[in-house]
Amino acid sequence: MKFIDLDIQSNLSTGKSSVEEIAKLAEKLGFSGIAICDVWQGHERLKQLKEKIAEVQKLVKIEIIIGAKIEAKTVPELKRALEQVRESVVVVCVAGGSYEINRAACEDSRVDFLAHPALGRRDNGLDEVCLNAASKNNIAIELNFREVLLNYRKGRAIVLSNLSTNVRLCQQLGVKMVASSGANSVLEMRDPRELVSLANVIGMELQDSFTTVSDIPNAIVESNRKKLEGKTIAPGIEIIDKGEKSV
């Protein structure tokens, strides 16, 4: 089974570990790919990240995917960032927390997944409107391991309660979920099987828990690659190369 962690930050943005350290540990933990989702700080920083990833890619066997995390405070800021970043990276995620941003992210099909929608909140941060929009636009909701890891006692109970509410609602409304470590340093990275356990513990079936770390992240990466290569014109319409059989 191919496991991918879609949400890791390197020291080129808010993280503390280098891309090389992250990639080597991810290989050891059993991932077949990782997405470095650094906080979006402009094209210059992205160019640096791409160069770094190209260097490290030669040293490891796993696939390193370029991603971007948008930390916007207002909706216009989010839209502007999405316009700039969508064509340049494979994975785009939006840092949630504010209800306004959560809803705007769920309503924009350029977003791949919404990270930690309940961050810093007492409620789960999502309602029926957001989740119906996310289902329609094929946007996944993240189960962030770091949120659980860094909280303690009452805070952790609240986080787990919010996550289990989101799992229940996503299952009822047919929204996809991705489990990721959300790591800012190598010490926060965990084995893919542990991420599966977290998803299982908070209310998902074991079979579905596996898809949150393997099938769904793989599908996101695959479809975005096709879009970036220009093979997908619109949802359901693909250009098939000469000689290939039609699907």
Partner: protein
Amino acid sequence: MFDRPQHLSPNLREKRRYVAFKINCNKPLQEMDVNNAIWNSALNFLGDLGAAKASLFVLKGIYTPENKIGMVRCSHTAVEHVRTALALVTRVGEEPVIIEVLGISGTIKAAKRKYLGERILSSFEK
């Protein structure tokens, strides 16, 4: 634009129960201390995951140091767990206490009427 999620439709809502309790103690106790004592007891007894699955929440603004009656919200599947966690509270701050469960209700309104002696308009008409 709203700043918090809207109410879920009834089929998606989690079924909740409101547990009304009374603290037996001679001295006045602060709401914050009572809240902390209940959370500590629940976390020690049920653990982080158990407290999360119980969707525990101590309602604010109901408890007063004079009447010593408060309310805890929980999931309908975890009422017995929460009752036991409340029974295990032995101290609030420095004061030894006993928490007595007055009853369980499906809405705050009904719980207030039954256990806090709040009267609704129709009761005045009679």
